[in-house]
């Protein structure tokens, strides 16, 4: 908008460009001074808790600096928690950011797993190349579904994802040359990360990378565009946002993370079979993401990890309560516990505690950073909403 002369008016205010206007605007008021922060004692407590949490994640599962000895199997179980966290973040992009539902997400993960295994075993490539290929294949599938979602929305799209998931299971996963039949496809670990302990760190690294990408995506214009188009696509369009392109992009990102998670799963198990990648797994993924709290990264990670550990029995072992529930008359064995507790938590989250685990992580996170320890109230309901419908 350039300054221009206009003869017709006598007294005219000075025409400014917007940037000039910014230059002349006084600096914004600094935020009002916060009430005084925590006491030194408070800070000591925070640092201590922070250290304990860091130790629990970084050291305990791998016997580093640990008075407790943990076996290899346990490290593998915790790796699964980390991988589920990656998958949870992937699903969060679809359910939380875009506002659609994916009832076939296990297909992305499964295809990622088989792709990575295939690239390493049959094509003789390095794990990192394989993981990259798996991610890209995941992204491509998801982008395709994203394009479909532009045409078919809401509940109907959910049914399409459901069909996609189950059809993948019945057809693609049955192709023996790709999936190795009942014996499955071998998936050796990369050099230097063969031990369960080291593999755990590899998974943590990948999780950190995914969290970083997710954070940067949402903190920049892409993320803002997604949030806008989720809630109000007409306004987003008038602000110049290409709703269709961003939707497909979001799907691609989701598929990227899912494929990556699949690759990690494959090499954790050292062998991939098609069986686990069924519709029930899709529901597990949805449960853990919703319980984690949508659009809340830390919550999703916590929820997914919790669920994974519950599912493989590790959580109950850790808490030493496995036997308590398994005895009659309760007879709730470790296998059955997640089948009951999961849906209960899901229903509680949807109806009563919309923030899910995110409410907990936000509370703790804020406290750790020096804020008060006050329970963060979830201000909106669990919004899985596809307004494009």
């Amino acid at each position: 908008m350039a300054v221009q002369d206009r003869d017709s008016d006598e007294d005219r205010t000075e025409v400014l460009t917007l940037d000039e206007l910014i230059a002349t605007t006084t600096d914004p008021e600094p935020a009002p001074a916060e009430p005084s922060g925590p006491t030194p004692g408070g800070w000591v407590a925070r640092v201590a808790v922070g250290l304990v949490l860091a130790w629990a994640v970084l050291c305990y599962p791998t016997n580093v600096l640990s008075p407790f000895t943990v076996g290899g199997v346990e490290a593998n179980a915790v790796s699964e928690a980390v991988i589920f966290a990656v998958i949870g973040l992937s699903l969060n992009v679809l359910i939380g950011y875009v506002g659609t539902i994916s009832l076939g997400h296990q297909a992305f993960v499964g295809i990622g797993a088989f792709t990575s295994a295939y690239v390493v075993t049959e094509m003789g490539q390095e794990f990192f190349i394989a993981a990259l290929v798996a991610s890209l294949v995941g992204a491509a599938q998801a982008a395709l579904l994203g394009a479909v979602s532009l045409r078919v929305t809401g509940l109907y799209f959910g049914l399409i994802t459901l069909s996609y998931g189950i059809m993948t299971q019945e057809s693609i996963f049955q192709i023996e040359s790709l999936t190795g039949g009942t014996a499955g496809q071998a998936a050796p670990r990369p050099l230097g990360f063969e031990s369960d302990f080291r593999y755990y760190y590899l998974c943590l690294l990948v999780l950190a990378l995914v969290v970083f990408i997710d954070w940067r995506l949402m903190a920049t214009k892409g993320g803002r565009a997604l949030l806008a188009l989720r809630e109000n696509p007409r306004v987003a369009a008038t602000w110049g946002i290409n709703v269709k392109a961003y939707t497909v992009l979001a799907f691609a990102v989701s598929g990227l993370f899912a494929g990556l998670g699949g690759a990690l799963l494959a090499h954790r198990d050292l062998n991939v079979v098609a069986n686990p990648f069924d519709f029930r797994l899709a529901l597990v993924f949805i449960m853990m993401t919703v319980i984690g709290g949508l659009r809340n990264r830390a919550g999703v990670v916590a929820g997914a990890a919790f669920f994974a550990l519950l599912r493989n029995g590790e959580l109950l072992e850790l808490l030493r309560v496995a036997d308590v529930f398994a005895k009659p008359p309760i007879s709730l064995t470790a296998e059955v516990m997640p089948l009951v507790l999961g849906p209960v938590l899901l229903l509680l989250t949807i109806t009563l505690f919309p923030g899910g685990f995110g409410q907990l992580t936000s509370t703790v996170g804020r406290w750790l950073r020096g804020g008060p320890f006050r329970f963060v109230k979830a201000d909106k309901e669990v919004q899985i909403t596809d307004v494009r419908a």
């Binding site: 908008m1 008016d9 206007l21 940067r216 995506l217 214009k221 803002r224 806008a228 809630e231 008038t238």
Partner: protein
């Protein structure tokens, strides 16, 4: 402030050429010809259901007309999608306020600058130093516009639950953030009393001056529209009933008849 003379050298910014649109069995618009010159304020009035918002939807790209073309700066934009028209300089507000209610005012303003933020999404993900600079600039700009509209204190406040009048001003701020050349305002004065409508009129005139805007506004406040418009169209049943200088249109017998019995908030309606 007196209306600028309509000079022959002034470019036509927006025109619609025979716009017609049909929904099922209803002819919502029929051969509507509209012309808006640069820096004009054009008012569009008419009873409810006359097709005013439908016309906006055709102009901005939400509807595809069954006949007719839309031209912007001489370029035929009839087949362009909404976001591309925004890119060309069309800004628009909505009857039910067009904002992202789940975000803060500041975030809304930053989102609205989408077209101005010139790093591509991938660079944004990997956080180059340039993106940080651009982000900071975007935030500063958001603050400045909020300040301009007297809403700076709401930068970190979630939009949901704010009073209606504030929302309308915020929506205006957001559309200004898109750096438009033409503003299509859909009932900016709705819900306002006469004093507020007068202030709105002053604000629009001021914005036109300061940002060199062209404004097309739909509203039911006939005094407001009459005062600030350079040219007025009256629509009824999807057709242009009358057009011309504000006072002429207001006194047009057809226009008066169209409004009789309507709930227009105008109480100083002139009878011929």
């Amino acid at each position: 402030m007196s209306a600028p003379d309509l000079q022959p050298e002034r470019t036509t910014l927006l025109e619609t050429d025979g716009i017609s649109i049909r929904f099922g069995g209803v002819q919502a618009l029929n051969d509507v010809n509209l012309r808006v010159d640069e820096w004009e304020i054009v008012g569009i009035i008419g009873p409810n259901g006359a097709g005013k918002t439908t016309l906006f939807n055709c102009i901005t790209g939400f509807y595809a007309p069954t006949a007719g073309r839309v031209r912007y700066r001489g370029q035929d934009v009839t087949d362009l999608p909404v976001h591309k028209r925004a890119n060309l300089g069309m800004g628009r507000t909505f009857q039910n306020v067009g904002l992202v209610k789940g975000s803060t005012a500041g975030e809304n303003l930053k989102t609205a600058q989408h077209l101005e933020v010139d790093y591509d999404p991938l660079a944004g993900i990997f956080g180059s130093p340039r993106t940080f600079d651009v982000e900071r600039h975007t935030t500063d700009r958001a603050r400045a516009i909020l300040d301009l509209m007297g809403l700076a204190h709401l930068e970190h406040t979630r939009v949901q639950g704010l009073p209606y009048g504030v929302l309308k001003r915020l929506e205006l701020a957001a559309v200004l953030a898109t750096d438009p050349d033409i503003l299509l305002l859909d009932e900016p004065g709705s819900g306002m009393g006469p004093e507020e409508a007068e202030e709105l009129g002053d604000l629009l005139l001021q914005l036109r001056e300061e940002f060199e805007l062209t404004i097309v506004m739909i509203d039911h406040h006939v005094p407001l529209v009459t005062r600030i418009s350079d040219y007025v169209y009256c629509l009824n049943f999807g057709e242009v009933l009358a057009e011309g200088l504000p006072d002429d249109v207001r006194r047009h017998p057809e226009v008066v008849r169209a409004y009789l019995g309507d709930e227009a908030t105008d109480d100083s309606e002139e009878v011929a």
